[in-house]
């Protein structure tokens, strides 16, 4: 059934050799999360993503988009015009993955005051 998992109780991601581990890492990558978040709101061009995702370099954005495209989470469409126009959008699988990540992001944004306040208390106790 499952040749990767070391235990029935635990998921496949805990097995280092399981492909799910790699997929998980690609999806939870620093810039992937933000790219998916952006694309979940609709189609975007390269320059739009670069502008929306504050702090991302061209290099990392291009690299992140490539990985997600190869994984089948993003569709890249090139229009044969001058100047070049390239659009990025989520595939079905990409939007399913993004939906799950957005649950986390929304929770963080909603709970941020509580998280920050609680973190301050913990930090106090550390010193």
């Amino acid at each position: 059934m499952n040749t990767y998992a070391t235990s029935e109780l635990f998921g496949q991601v805990l097995s280092s050799q399981c492909p799910s581990r790699e997929i998980l890492e690609h999806l939870t990558n620093k810039w992937s999360v933000l790219v998916l978040r952006c694309l979940s709101e609709g189609v975007h061009r390269f320059s739009e993503l670069k502008q929306r995702i504050e702090g991302v370099s061209e290099k990392m954005l291009a690299q992140t988009l490539k990985v997600l495209e190869k994984d089948g989470f993003i569709l890249r469409t090139v229009y044969p015009v001058v100047p070049p126009k390239v659009e990025y959008q989520l595939t079905i699988l990409g939007s399913q993955a993004s939906e799950k990540l957005n649950y986390l992001i929304s929770w963080i944004e909603k709970s941020l005051p509580e998280i920050v306040e609680n973190k301050a208390r913990v930090t106090d106790r550390f010193q």
Copy 2:
């Protein structure tokens, strides 16, 4: 209202200076995801986590646990016995975060065949 976001339509995480960006990065970190996943199933000792999470080094596990503890997502309990006994468990906030991450993990594990198959097709088209 929100001094960080650059746009009403987009979340705070897209702002590089917003604390939510850092929290998101801590939670989606390579080993954090797996640690939270493990702890969502119950209390664990250091050595148990090391064993369950295949491939993690002591160094990275200790580091990951520290970050999550400082963020207030994990509670560390030291028992004054010989040999030492230390238990890790999720806080309320930690279990809320972990719950969201588990949605993603469960989806990946469930959809893995479809993801792998689709990825193979995409890869073919690349060459």
